[in-house]
Symmetry: C2
Subunit: 469 residues, 2 copies
């Protein structure tokens, strides 16, 4: 016999909040992708409006719509591409708006991607691989609802890390000839911008003035790297720490591929630019190594740079394109096709080379469906980049080197820039806005939609193999 | 009880020939990939030597080694890239050497790819999907051995088609102000060059002089298209004709994707160049349409062009890059990653979007192993192109537009050129030689090696899915 429902007295604000909570919970479980798209769209609209206010600019003028929309999209999608010089064009108020947009955008992306990943696990009837589910069991009085609980954990975790970064950066800026107020502002700005892989800078000349200051460069680099790993990996690291064998397969693959890409990227990018006087040729060996790692980490997709990206050798730009396209970890503020996507495809190839019918790694089997999702994400990414690049080539009459760099940076919400964003006519800026939006939501919602659909086929056609290659 | 061996009298030349036949047969069945690599290497060496002779050049000089090697590689791999103006630099003898190199190269590639495909079918215990096996049953007196029989069928089929093309082209050149001797030479040259997707031209200004002559342009276009379909598809068309339902899955996919790419390519390439006065802007509407289809067909991978590829809009170059990378049919003289590779990947994505665990098309199921082979071929191709482009950017200091175009053209043995091959220093020419060689043998031998290895796994690890996207 079911227990009789218990009535508790509740005032109307509590009831209203409960209704909002239930509506969001319902939407989150019934159509999380639509919730993601709607939320991102609304948030961008709000920040476009805020950045259009005269008070947001240093000269108290109204920013053209395309520049306000571009900056808002860039900040909310935590890309970091800019059509105006952030440190010059915007007022202190404008920069705070951007900082809040990055914080809200980063939080929103991670939360919504978590909800999507949860929805997929639930649909597939998987045991909770995302540790959030275990954490959520601890908060089971249901006050906040599922989304609320997830949000609370994410906010607690990410804010703590961002505070720690600010604690490192504020003294560093104070020592580097800033007043205490300036140090506090810039320290907070870069803490948020780095951990959220935001890529925005608050100095008119960016980080160039601190290129040899490890106390500023290193915390920013660490912030970007940690932020790019993604929430599920952070939870694994925070709860299981060095117990590597207990880590989820997702955490092992994400950290493994991230480290490989970072080291290989640093060696290749550093090697190509080693003697380039316009970039790192004039630095000491130690600074060259630091610059190489900084450049490599920021392709995954922090977007900060210590040197003028226009001065890079064309071969360096091509390698950077590839690294940006790869991107960071799933359910993070990083973009790109994601490192687990690459891991799954390479493991599938390795299985084929060994002659295995199963994709195996770390004592686990990855189902073929996951490989097909990975494949779809890569093809979607390559298609978006090719279409975007063709459109921008048509609009700008620029060379492919610069166009491809800016296109991939936008798609991968990376933010490294050769300055094309600022030079393009409005039509080109709208193309980049579309790429940032599609890059932010596209791979995540596609992967979730495909993963959630996997089902067994009841009857089979006879097998026939076309010739490949 | 086994039948007693029958002894027939045989003279020693017959016995020697039988020994050679048996050795080739043994090598073809035990390590066909090595046979492929060795044969291609030896044939290129012979033609490099021939082209190094003073008599091969118009001015009776010794061609530098890198140019002779480049031309020999380009002809034998039926690419069509050139470091010298073929119609000016080479003598009539030199052009005949190139013509023979294309004929031998085309024949060799198709034969060796057929042997590889046969070996894979045999290893997998498949019923003969390649019609050659049925055709070979008819020739079972064993005089020629397996390879000899295959070679006989391939020579008969392809020579017939090339003769038919020459019969169309010789009168067309005669009408177009050539002497009968010239018409015979050029007609034969373009018949071989087009059907083998060779891409070499025998006129100093290429086909530009005939850009509005449909009697020359159309047969060449048809030759390229038919040649790009591949031997298994030709056999299906010749034996089953319009009985579409009986076609092999391979033939259906090859022809389907080839037609789609050709039409979409023509529309996009034509649309982008419609008003470009430096390419087709000055032509009549009919000629523009003809040029669009000619350009589209030749990305699959004929390599002939009617206009200066340097004058193409950068967006057109990027679309051409993508079409060249796709390439033609398997077991053909065309290069690229091959149209069935693309078909399998898109069908895998479509299956995923429908939520099917099986990849199904035309009432057949394509095994997951085939998808992984396709994936491996794409990744190999993309890796070769990326490495090649990075190396050439480093060597040439050229823009990515031109470098990527020439790199993909070499990898896909396409032969469309922006002229970079001729401008590069020797180091760059060697890179392109390596790309042509790797592009010619790489995808075919990789796919064969992987396909032949597929086996069932006896035990399974527990399943775990990383998050994708
Ligand atoms: K970024
Ligand atoms: K060719």
């Amino acid at each position: 016999m079911p227990a009789a429902p218990s009535f508790t007295p509740a005032s109307w604000p509590v009831r209203t909040l409960r209704k909002v909570r239930d509506t969001v919970d319902t939407m989150a479980s019934s159509s999380p992708s639509r919730l993601f798209l709607t939320a991102l769209f609304l948030v961008i609209a709000v920040f476009t409006a805020l950045l259009s206010l005269p008070v947001a600019t240093a000269k108290h003028v109204v920013t053209p719509f395309y520049d306000a929309l571009f900056t808002a999209t860039s900040a909310v999608t935590v890309t970091g591409l800019t059509t105006v010089n952030s440190g010059e064009h915007w007022s202190q108020f404008g920069l705070v708006v951007i900082m809040v947009a990055m914080f809200v955008g980063g939080l929103g992306v991670v939360t919504l991607a978590s909800i999507l990943a949860l929805a997929v696990s639930r649909r597939l009837g998987l045991r909770g691989k995302l540790l959030t589910q275990q954490a959520m069991a601890a908060d089971d009085d249901g006050r906040l609802g599922e989304v609320g609980t997830l949000l609370r954990i994410i906010i607690t975790t990410t804010t703590t890390i961002q505070l720690a970064l600010a604690v490192l950066l504020i003294p560093a800026f104070y020592v580097a000839d800033h007043t205490l107020g300036e140090a506090f502002f810039h320290g907070s700005f870069y803490a948020i911008s780095s951990f959220n892989n935001g890529g925005f800078v608050s100095h008119p000349d960016g980080l160039a003035g601190f290129e040899s200051n490890p106390f500023i460069v290193v915390p920013i680099m660490i912030g970007v790297f940690v932020g790019s790993l993604g929430f599920p990996v952070l939870m694994v690291l925070l709860t299981l720490r060095h117990k590597f064998r207990k880590w989820s397969l997702h955490a092992k693959l994400t950290i493994g591929v991230s480290l490989i890409l970072t080291v290989v990227g640093a060696v290749v990018l550093g090697g190509l630019e080693w003697n380039n006087q316009a970039t790192m040729g004039h630095l000491s060996v130690w600074d060259k190594i630091l610059h190489s790692f900084f450049a490599s980490v920021n392709t995954r997709s922090g977007g900060f740079s210590l040197v003028d990206q226009n001065e890079l050798h064309p071969a360096t730009m091509l390698i950077t394109d590839a690294l940006m396209f790869a991107g960071g970890g799933s359910v993070s503020t990083a973009g790109g096709i994601k490192v687990t996507t690459i891991a799954v495809l390479f493991l599938a190839m390795a299985a084929e080379a060994r002659g295995d019918s199963d994709i195996r790694t770390f004592g686990r089997r990855i189902p073929d469906g996951t490989m097909r999702v990975a494949l779809s994400v890569v093809v979607l990414g390559a298609t978006l980049v090719a279409l975007g690049a063709a459109l921008l080539l048509w609009i700008s009459e620029e060379s492919l080197d610069r166009v491809l760099f800016e296109t991939i940076s936008a798609f991968a919400t990376c933010g490294l820039s050769v300055g094309l964003s600022a030079e393009l006519p409005p039509a080109g800026k709208y193309v980049l806005v579309a790429l940032m939006f599609a890059g932010r939501v596209g791979t995540i919602t596609l992967a979730a939609a495909l993963s959630a659909r996997q089902r067994e086929t009841r009857y089979h056609f006879p097998e026939e193999r076309p010739i490949i290659g």
